[in-house]
């Protein structure tokens, strides 16, 4: 039953877009908003529904950086590494957050799936470099200390909840 319900929602999304293969990107965006990532079985399902090969859907899903085939942590931290942020040493923010969360060797999600830490090319908040965004909330003019503090506050909030 659980599985069926899962596909029902995908059906709705595909129908909203008229089962049109040229609407593939908006369909995948809506699916990802729903599940927070693109599960592989759903990609195959979408492919069959709009009448293209699963390889093509997989190709599109892996081409664009906003699509992800892996589940993301509850808090999605994206450190801006646009030029303006980069020259204001945004990678130091990234480094100290990874240190704080003990993320090593290219791992970007914590084992409890609370955080995923990534970099993003430009948020357009260049006037406030360096910047980072946690889920929808944007923070600007950061220092590594302040960035770690923000992460720490979230951890405490979660522990209290």
């Amino acid at each position: 039953m659980e599985e069926l319900r899962k596909f029902e929602r995908v059906w709705e999304i595909i129908d909203q877009h008229g089962r049109d293969a040229s609407r593939l990107i908006p369909i995948l965006q809506a699916v990802q908003t729903e599940y927070r990532y693109l599960p592989e079985e759903i990609l195959t399902f979408v492919a069959t529904s709009v009448g293209v090969s699963p390889a093509k859907v997989f190709g599109v899903a892996t081409f664009y950086s906003l699509f992800t085939l892996e589940p993301k942590g509850k808090y999605h931290v994206r450190v801006c590494n646009g030029t303006a942020c980069h020259v204001k040493r945004s990678m130091d923010l990234h480094k100290s957050i990874c240190q704080k969360l003990n993320l090593r060797d290219g791992k970007d999600s914590t084992s409890d799936m609370l955080f995923t830490v990534e970099t993003v090319n430009c948020l357009g908040a260049c006037g406030l470099a360096p910047a980072m965004v946690v889920n929808e909330e944007v923070y600007g003019q950061l220092t590594p200390e302040r960035a770690v503090e923000i992460i720490h506050e979230i951890i405490q909030k979660e522990a209290a909840a």
Binding site: S22, Y64, G82, V87, N121, G124, A125, V138
Partner: protein, 632 residues
């Protein structure tokens, strides 16, 4: 005069009357920058603060009444000192406004009519206090033409756009002008594409106009992928109707009846505002069937990007709208011949489209009166990096780098943000496709052609200013890493070449390079330029070639002497202990992961450079600043 225009006159008259009846209008900047700094909380605070006073708060400007109307605006450009609040009619300009300041503003300025001095802007170089925005050098030295309504009008209120003569240009071309006439007007204005290449807009339109066929498309390219650029975002957030109006004019010029606004998904606010603007325009009958009482119909949709820099390239963007991987295809055929779904399509940048209504209303002659003869008009730049004032600025084309950096942006700063007037090293213009400008170019007039002669380009207008502490090799590496990861993979030379170039730059920065490395790097750069299909690959080597041209000595220092002149390349540092400062606390010795530090408690420590892996842990942990990473 047609019915639509008569309707506009009434809308305008009513709006102006409603605005006149107000005692005050408060403009709160709601561009991305100010929102990040909490301007929404400031906006909300006004409602509560006004309630506590005897002033009447007006939530929606729907009828003539006395009171205070608080409205949101798009980006006012000076993001760094946000949130920005302007009080009309006095034009008092408050900066860094926090929610707790709102009550004070209401009591002092709105009730008593006095200026609240602590929130005014002080110009840091001359310590001059500015009451209005017009007194601030940042605004004074700009020429705000395309951005003139950004930061003034409420971007979510179509009536206010109409009250500022909006949609009159669209009405004019739909009702009174033939397609050919529109193309001729734009061609004679000399308007060139603001997205990068500077191709004449009128020529592009004319190519699409003469194509046979019923179905044609207009696409607005809002996929502003250049990291460090946010001009298009500013326009889409601050004046979305001007973009729609530009698209209506374009659609009339080529007989297109459908269009797309392709917006980068990293700009959620721009997506939201453009969507709302389109819905409102439909409601007023400005989009859809037989607009402005003419035969012309135009339907407009928003397409959100999904995060691929290459989609800023026309053919890749088309592939993306068609639901495919955003890979470019060879030109010709040009999109204006065979574009979206094989139909003639014109793709224009946001800023270009936003300029179009102004050209139609003011005429070609007036438009040409600003800028240079080959590049008329103005250009917006996103000035960021090591400057006193970062933000969105608009200058006439032909302005010099000195005007922008020292005039508008207030000069150079150190890494900590302190003014350092002689600290200028270079400015990267045009992002990862552009090149760097040095102090020799400070007085060069910037336009589309002048920059090409020195191996750079205006690009979309991102201008990142760097101070003397910036390592140019690492700047080149940063852009190389960007284009390498954004290469779509279609052309071998772009896909593999950029990867190898990145590896060579890593060799240089990590001390593995020989003199041959520079030669290979240069050869490869030229090959990648020649062997790539689209703009991404063709321009990917530009940052490397231009830094090599202007800062070759810096590359050579890295290669020959294994020395980074700015001390930024960690792998080239040699860590050592200053015996005079060392207290012998053993802290660094305990932290060193490879045991490179010797010396007992109370004695000065020593670092063995043959064991040291240059991780920098000792330097970070030393409380006495006894460890340096400078080459001796």
């Amino acid at each position: 005069m047609n019915l639509a225009v008569l309707g506009f006159n009434k809308t305008k008259k009513d709006y102006v009357a409603r605005e006149k009846a107000l005692s005050h209008r408060v403009l709160v900047c709601a561009g991305t920058g100010c929102l990040v700094n909490g301007s929404m909380k400031v906006y909300e605070e006004f409602a509560g603060a006004l309630e506590g006073s005897h002033l009447k708060a007006i939530v929606e400007l729907v009828k003539e009444q006395k009171g205070v109307y608080v409205s949101k605006t798009g980006c006012q450009g000076f993001c760094q000192i946000g949130p920005l609040v302007t009080i009309l009619p006095e034009n008092v300009f408050y900066t860094r406004v926090k929610p707790k300041d709102v009550r004070d503003i209401v009591e002092t300025t709105l009730v008593k009519g006095e200026v609240l001095h602590r929130l005014l802007y002080t110009e840091p170089n001359r310590q001059q206090v500015c009451t209005t925005a017009a007194e601030i050098p940042f605004y004074q030295r700009q020429h705000r033409f395309v951005l003139s309504n950004c930061g003034l009008i409420d971007p979510e209120d179509i009536e206010e756009y109409i009250a500022h003569d909006g949609y009159l240009a669209a009405a004019k071309v739909c009702a009174d002008m033939a397609a050919e006439e529109v193309c001729r007007l734009i061609l004679s204005s000399g308007l060139r594409g603001r997205g990068g290449g500077g191709f004449p807009t009128g020529k592009k339109w004319d190519m699409a106009r003469i194509q046979p066929g019923e179905k044609k498309y207009v696409i607005c390219n809002g996929d502003e992928g250049d990291p460090g650029a946010f001009m298009d975002m500013g326009i889409m957030e601050g004046n979305p109707h001007s973009v729609i109006e530009g698209m209506i004019v374009a659609s009339r010029a080529i007989h297109a009846n459908a269009g797309f606004v392709y917006v980068r998904a990293e700009y959620p606010l721009a997506v939201k505002r453009v969507r709302k603007a389109i819905t409102d325009a439909y409601k007023m009958g400005l989009l859809g069937k037989s607009i402005f009482g003419s035969e012309h119909s135009f339907d407009l949709n928003v397409m959100e990007g999904a995060g691929a820099f290459v989609c800023g390239e026309e053919t890749a963007l088309i592939a993306s709208i068609e639901g495919k991987r955003g890979m470019p295809s060879p030109k010709p055929p040009f999109p204006s011949q065979s574009g979206l779904w094989g139909k003639p399509t014109i793709i224009n940048n946001v800023e270009t489209l936003s300029t179009v209504p102004l050209v139609v209303m003011n005429g070609a002659e007036k438009f040409r009166s600003v800028g240079t003869s080959s590049s008329p008009g103005t250009k917006t730049f996103a000035v960021t990096g090591h400057v006193v004032n970062t933000g969105l600025v608009e200058m006439p084309l032909g302005a010099t780098l000195r005007d922008i950096i020292y005039g508008v942006a207030g000069g150079i700063t150190t890494d900590d943000g302190k003014p350092a007037m002689d600290g200028f090293k270079a400015a990267q213009i045009g992002g990862p496709s552009g090149g760097c400008l040095t102090k020799d170019h400070l007085d060069l007039p910037i336009d589309f052609d002048s920059l090409k002669t020195i191996g750079a380009m205006v690009g979309s207008g991102g201008l990142v200013v760097m101070n003397k502490g910036t390592c140019m090799v690492s700047v080149a590496r940063y852009f190389m890493q960007f284009t390498q990861s954004e290469s779509c993979g279609k052309c071998v030379l772009c896909r593999e070449g950029t990867k190898q170039m990145l590896a060579l730059l890593d060799d240089i920065m990590e001390g593995r390079a020989t003199e041959e490395t520079l030669q290979i790097l240069e050869e490869l750069a030229v090959t990648v330029q020649r062997g790539s299909l689209c703009g991404l690959g063709k321009t990917a080597p530009s940052p490397v070639l231009s830094t090599l041209r202007h800062f070759r000595d810096e590359y050579e220092a890295h290669v020959k002497h294994k020395f980074c002149p700015t001390g930024k390349c960690k792998a080239l540092k040699i860590f050592s202990v200053d015996a005079a400062l060392c207290e012998g606390c053993m802290r660094c010795k305990k932290k060193c992961p490879v045991g490179a530090i010797s010396g007992g408690k109370g004695e000065p420590h020593r670092i063995d450079p043959t064991i040291c892996v240059k991780c920098g842990v000792c330097l970070e942990n030393c409380k006495f600043h006894a460890i340096t990473g400078d080459k001796q």
